[in-house]
């Protein structure tokens, strides 16, 4: 039983750092390696780690299924929304430089929102797939 206590304590210490690192990778994707995909995968890995140590029902109480499903669709919606907003403000689809008063800060806003959208979708999809794989029991037989 002592090994279980060690695992739980180490997990509780590590998971906040993993989440902060994921946020760092996301928002510093402009100045160093990183960006939306890596951050999304790291967030999903942190929640999977939590689910492996503390059990799947506890993880599902923490990050419920409806939230994950919403995240999957929300990211793509944000991305397409940035594109459509470019259309509404007078430029082409996915034009960033019409989003603000000068083109460079428009690019900043556009890139930021687009990366956030990608991160949300990637972490949602990875987590959803893990929930589906882990929640399935062995030995089910479907009708043929």
């Amino acid at each position: 039983m002592r090994s279980q206590v060690v695992l739980r304590v180490v997990a509780k210490l590590l998971i906040p750092f993993i989440l902060v690192f994921a946020l760092y990778v996301q928002f510093h994707g402009d100045y160093g390696p990183g960006g939306g995909f890596q951050a999304g995968v790291i967030i999903a890995a942190a929640v999977i780690f939590y689910a492996l140590i503390f059990g799947l029902p506890t993880a599902k109480r923490l990050v419920p299924e409806w939230l994950v499903e919403t995240m999957v669709a929300l990211g793509v919606l944000i991305y397409a929304g940035v594109g459509v907003e470019g259309l509404l403000l007078g430029g082409n689809f996915l034009d960033y430089f019409v989003l603000s008063h000068n083109p460079v800060s428009g690019q900043h806003i556009g890139i930021f929102l687009v990366e956030v959208g990608v991160c949300i979708t990637v972490s949602g999809v990875m987590l959803m797939i893990f929930y589906l794989f882990a929640g399935r029991k062995r030995g089910w037989h479907s009708e043929r």
Partner: protein, 118 residues
């Protein structure tokens, strides 16, 4: 034309052939998917290797460096990696369903069951 320049590419091609061999020759479905992912990673290697410039650095603009490696293959391969894992997830979901329907994940046994039915 120094022959040793191409050793990098030859190793990548060897990995590609190994991945292809695993996909074609092995009957276990999970092993086929692992072989497919080996195939995909060797393609990334073949794609990114020509982009490297000797003496260059990673393509992050900084006043201290003058020569940067080519960023365009990096962008394309980034997309390819994530699409690859999406494909792997779908493939594994199919393997799980096949296992529940047929009771096995060996290709020969699945084909035998199908032949016996039709």
């Amino acid at each position: 034309m120094n022959v040793l320049d191409f050793v990098n590419y030859w190793i990548a091609v060897f990995l590609l052939s190994t991945g292809l061999y695993i996909v074609i020759a092995r009957g276990n479905l999970v092993k086929k998917l692992v072989g497919l992912s080996i195939f995909q990673t060797s393609v990334y290697l073949i794609y990114i290797s020509p982009g490297k410039i000797l003496g260059g650095t990673a393509p992050i603009i900084d006043p201290a460096f003058k020569i940067y490696s080519n960023p365009l293959p990096h962008v394309l391969i980034l997309t390819a990696i994530v699409v690859g894992v999406a494909t792997l997830a779908l493939g594994l979901a199919l393997v799980v369903r096949i296992n529940e329907a047929y009771g096995t994940i060996e290709e020969d046994e699945i084909r035998a069951q199908d032949v016996g039915r039709y």
